[in-house]
Amino acid sequence: MAEAASELFSYLTVGGILFALGLIGFLVRRNMIVMFLCAEMMLQGISISLVAWGKYHANWGGQMLVIFILTVAACEAAIALALVLMLFHRSGKLDIAFWQEMREEGQPAYVDREIPEEREEDKVWPTLTPAGRLPSRDPEIDLHRSRV
């Protein structure tokens, strides 16, 4: 039995954990791009479960469904990124709470009470490792360049 059922259970566990993590992230985080990634993470959990069930039942249906999940996820990514870009251009930030005026009528607005200070070790932005010699820059051109 035991191999097939126990192998299935391993993958169901991993899929369930991925789904739960994606759910938590989608509900807790406020950055729109992170929320989008968390939705994709939930889809990944479902995909792992589907493939595992398909292997357990010796049926291609699971893998077929995952192929279509990939298709729909690609569509979702295209639409979602276009929407995120639009919303960012209108509000200037990726905070989903900025759009809370679309909430249901009669609901109180959510206001941030306290914003914790950023820790010192978090004030690091990822940078690219410099490769090669630094090219000489024209100060004239540098004047016109915005921050890059």
């Binding site: 097939a4 759910l23 406020r30 993470m41 295209a78 709470a97 950023e118 990822p126």
Partner: protein, 309 residues
């Protein structure tokens, strides 16, 4: 699924004693604690206790996973599952959206590996290729949109002090219920299956509906699977699922059989998927163009627009 779980409410089917003895339950609890400590929220804490709880929960989950037939298979499942779950947890715990995207890409690599372990090589490669492209694009969006001066305040906070405990607690409860019902039903937790296994009618019914180009299942396998459907004793979980020629999922001729199934049984769905992709493409372009028109209306010059867009 009610046949799998039996009659009555879900929690009645859970053998609580076996569940408490299972490391999975403790893994869920440790994971919930580590997420409470690590996810950005209303208060800042030291990172070390959260990381300790995360490692403990990974170890407990590894102990609770099912056993494979060989040590190599078991090791690869452990490594890939730890990679997938650990980097997924890091993706939602990171303060910076850039690091979130990177960790999510790592998690996708683990997912692709898990697909390959399950004889789904095409899906493994497709996941890595499709999502890697999508994630690179997302990553570029983040780099372009986020402010390089520092992190934004909304990445450090959540929806008030209650949101994090409520969400993490309910998700852990949901995961525990799912594992606590599926595990005993499959006979993994507790030793004996509490419910009959799902009927193995799949292999017996599908070859009849297959297209003509698909090889017909040998009569023996259909005959073998027939008694197990109506008998369905409590030990039916012990019997391996009945297999037919078309439905055997293994490494030999994987792509050819995947393609033959995809383009025979699911041909209409393939066409619909292609149409959906086209519609999404047109929709994404339409959304962006419409936004540009509305922004151009208040009289901003077109050169200015080009710089912003």
């Amino acid at each position: 699924m009610t046949a799998l779980f039996g009659e009555g409410p879900v929690w009645a089917a859970i053998p609580w004693n076996d569940l408490v003895a299972s490391p999975l339950a403790w893994g869920v609890i440790a994971g919930a604690i580590s997420l409470l400590l690590l996810i950005p929220g209303s208060s800042q804490r030291a990172r070390t206790p959260g990381l300790i709880f995360a490692a403990a929960s990974l170890v407990l989950f590894g102990l609770g996973l099912g056993r494979s037939e060989s040590l190599g298979a078991q090791l690869s499942v452990w490594v890939l599952a730890a990679l997938t779950v650990g980097s997924a947890g890091a993706a939602i715990a990171m303060r910076s959206a850039v690091y979130s995207a990177i960790w999510f890409a790592v998690s996708l690599l683990g997912t692709g590996g898990l697909f390959c372990l399950q004889n789904a090589q095409f899906l493994g490669v497709a996941t890595v290729v499709v999502y890697a492209g999508a994630i690179v694009v997302t990553f570029l969006f983040v780099v372009m949109l986020a402010q390089p001066e520092g992190h934004d305040a909304y990445d450090r906070i959540s929806w008030g002090p209650l949101a994090k405990p409520v969400v993490v607690g309910s998700s852990a409860l949901l995961l525990g219920l799912v594992l606590g019902t599926v595990g005993p039903a499959l006979g993994v937790i507790g030793g004996k299956p509490v419910a009959p296994a799902p009927a193995k009618t799949v292999a017996a019914t599908t070859p009849a509906s297959a297209a003509g180009s698909v090889p017909v299942a040998p009569a023996g396998s259909a005959k073998d699977s027939a008694p197990s459907t109506d008998a369905a004793p409590a030990t039916a979980a012990a019997a391996p699922p009945a297999r037919s020629a078309i439905d055997t999922i293994d490494n030999r001729g994987h792509m050819a059989r995947l393609g033959s199934v995809l383009f025979s049984r699911h041909l209409i769905a393939v066409e619909l998927g292609g149409t959906l992709l086209l519609a999404a493409l047109v929709g994404a372009v339409a959304i962006v163009i419409q936004g540009r028109d509305e922004r151009a209306k208040p009289g901003v010059g077109t050169g200015e627009e080009r710089n912003h867009g």
